[in-house]
């Protein structure tokens, strides 16, 4: 259901809604498979799960046009996928293969950038993607291109100075920037109550003069609706928007983390709000899709992921002779 539309009608076509569902399912399927691979010892280094964040990364990413630029972070698998980064390339990257997005140079989703897909790769140092996305937005302004930049940031990252500096600068320049705050209530082991003395991160946007709002981050319609409004605002010269999407990190910080520090009932509560199940229910209720179709989507996603795993595991390793290549652009 799209919160933007008081009449309750979804502005998306049925086909678009089925696409959103597909991306969410693909994201979940790939994420689950990554976890199982790592548990089987077939992974390399650490990896992050995005379980529970599908509505945010897919819903927001789906609001962008092809010429818009996105700078996602470590839990935005869905956004990478829907921008055209294939499961095969993403998995090969995570397994350090020559065929991966970053040719073995960077770990897990780090550095999964590809300007042909208008995706900017991220560095660990959070939230460095924020000013970079702002700079992209300022470049669009400078060249008078009708393009928008979007970036994602966590609750933990919203405490950093860089978060505030970027919002301020975006407001001063009325830059076409959309910032999605994924408030998943934890930064690693630290609950939000130990990170900040406030309830809502959105007020940090308001304080810099950035239009800011709060949405249900497990409702993909709400996310997509808010993101669409924000993208349109940005594109039409209305300046930056901050969207705080409330959600919950359903697994550990990274694969090795059992998250024993999270109260079980908190997880239980949010498990009932699973964004994928909720969207399937909505699509059922609205007669847009049904269990048979969902089954077909799930099977297709499973097959795509299985072939990606094969591709990645069979891919060659990077040639050690090339290790010093590419430090500098020619």
């Amino acid at each position: 259901m799209n919160l933007r539309d008081p009449a309750g009608e979804d502005p998306l076509s049925e086909a678009e809604r089925r696409q959103i569902h597909y991306w969410m399912r693909l994201t979940r399927t790939l994420d689950d498979r990554i976890i199982s691979l790592w548990k089987q010892g077939r992974g390399l280094g650490g990896t992050f799960s995005q379980r529970g964040h599908e509505a945010i990364s897919v819903g927001a990413g789906f609001a962008l046009g092809p010429d818009d630029v996105v700078a996602p972070m470590h839990r935005d698998l869905g956004c990478y996928l829907l921008r055209g980064m294939t499961p095969a390339r993403l998995l090969a990257s995570q397994l350090g293969r020559a065929t991966g997005v970053n040719r073995g140079r960077d770990a897990n989703l780090h550095g999964c950038g590809d300007l042909d897909l208008n995706i900017i790769g991220f560095v660990s140092h959070l939230p460095q993607s924020m000013p970079v996305a702002l700079g992209a937005a300022m470049a669009f302004q400078y060249r008078e291109e009708p393009r928008v930049a979007m970036t994602f940031v966590g609750d933990g990252s919203s405490n950093t100075g860089l978060f505030h500096e970027t919002l301020n600068l975006a407001a001063v320049h009325e830059a076409p920037l959309v910032v999605i705050v994924e408030n998943n209530q934890y930064a690693y082991s630290t609950p939000i109550s130990q990170q900040m003395a406030i309830e809502d991160i959105s007020q940090r946007g308001t304080a810099q003069g950035v239009t800011s709002e709060i949405i249900d981050g497990n409702d993909v319609g709400a996310v997509h609706g808010a993101a669409t409004v924000a993208v349109e605002r940005a594109r039409s010269g209305g300046g930056p928007t901050l969207i705080e999407a409330k959600t919950m990190r359903m697994l550990g910080h990274a694969i090795h983390d059992g998250a024993e520090y999270v109260p079980a009932d908190l997880i239980d509560k949010w498990r009932k709000l699973d964004p994928l199940e909720r969207y399937e229910q909505t699509l059922r209720d609205d007669g847009v899709s049904d269990d048979r179709a969902f089954g077909a989507v799930a099977a297709r996603c499973k097959a795509e992921v299985a072939s990606a795993v094969r591709f990645a595991e069979e891919s060659e390793w990077p040639d050690p002779q090339t290790v010093a290549e590419g430090v500098y652009a020619p």
Binding site: G96, G104, R105, A107, S124, G156, Y188, W317, P320
Partner: protein, 340 residues
């Protein structure tokens, strides 16, 4: 300065319980917290039952209370800055940056405030930053860095980098007791792979003193941290070839114990400096330059350096393996200088 310092002289090889390198760090921290109520711990995720990304501080909150083990938001610049203020007021904060890579986020609070304060107006800033550093464990460009050269170049800081469990404990305790800002680079690859004897209770290793970890006559390999063990392994191989290598473990990178280095090179006439950090303009350059200037007449071969390549630390094993120095490269380099 180096008297009695040869052959593990202050590395109590036979006393103390066996502990891993990481257990020794926790031990040092707990020992000094018990000893001095002014010592407190702060950093991301260090508190509560969790005890930090590597569990170094696990149990400390329970034992010493939540007020002495403070979880910080992910804001290195301000919490290191706050530690500056605590230290000026007489506390001795021990700061954990989650990975050494994130120390750059707190850079100004370290290099501009902490490093300069005593010189400028006499305020003393006795903190320790514990920085889990180094790679070889497939964690990519942002969880493998060795940024010590930035800090050695900065006046007013001290920098240590233990290579053994006993030193990990002893140098940490000395670092906490020191009245200056000390950056303590701990070696992730040694955390659980290295076990050794660690004295119980009180145990300190003075800052600024290198150790001659292996005596030899033909060439000196100067190193620190995990690379000391690669140097020792290379020395073992070379012993079989009739090359007798002396290994100097710097232990403290600032102030540098150049006396021990020069004494060794005066004896062997050949030297190789090894570190995992990028070779270019790294600490190895300083040591090589000191040797080249001050041991000129003793040198039978050019002083060589081995270090990380001038690239970000690559993630993929075949790339990281060529990026990173190891015992084979060390052995090869020693053969070269010995056949010079």
């Amino acid at each position: 300065m180096t008297d009695g310092n040869f052959g593990f002289a202050d590395q109590p090889a036979s006393t103390g319980h066996q502990k891993t390198y990481i257990e020794a760090i926790s031990d040092g921290l707990a020992t000094e917290m018990a000893n001095d109520p002014n010592v407190l711990v702060l950093g991301e995720d260090v508190g509560g039952s969790f005890g930090g990304a590597f569990n170094v501080t696990k149990g400390l909150a329970e034992r010493f209370g939540d007020r002495r083990v403070l979880n910080m938001p992910m804001t290195e610049l301000s919490f290191i800055g706050a530690a500056n203020g605590m230290a000026l007021m007489g506390l001795r904060p021990v700061i954990e940056v989650q990975f050494a890579d994130f120390i750059s986020t707190g850079f100004d609070s370290i290099v501009q405030f902490a490093a300069t304060t005593h010189y400028r107006w006499g305020g003393s800033v006795p903190w320790v930053i514990r920085a889990p550093s180094d790679g070889g464990i497939r964690s990519g460009p942002f969880h493998s860095q060795n940024p010590e050269a930035w800090f050695v170049h900065t006046p007013g800081l001290k920098v240590v980098a233990p290579s053994t469990p006993a030193d990990a404990k002893g140098l940490l305790i000395s670092a906490i007791r020191d009245n200056n800002p000390v950056i303590y680079f701990e070696s992730k690859p040694l955390y659980r792979s290295l076990k050794g004897p660690v004295p119980e209770g009180e145990h300190s290793v003075p800052l600024g003193m290198a150790a001659v970890t292996r005596q030899g006559t033909d060439a000196t390999v100067i190193s620190y941290g995990a690379m000391v063990h690669q140097a020792l392994a290379a020395a073992g191989t070379l012993a079989g070839e009739g090359i007798d290598v002396e290994v100097v473990d710097l232990r403290t990178l600032k102030p540098l114990d150049t006396a021990t280095v020069l004494e060794s090179v005066a004896k062997t006439g050949r030297s190789l400096v090894v570190h995992a950090a990028n070779r270019l303009a790294g600490i190895g350059a300083e040591i090589a330059a000191v040797i080249a200037e001050e041991a000129f007449e003793s040198l039978d071969a050019p002083v060589m350096r081995i270090g990380g390549l001038d690239t970000p630390v690559p993630f993929s094993p075949p790339l990281e393996d060529v990026y990173r120095p190891d015992q084979h490269g060390i052995a090869e380099a020693v053969r070269r200088i010995c056949s010079y």
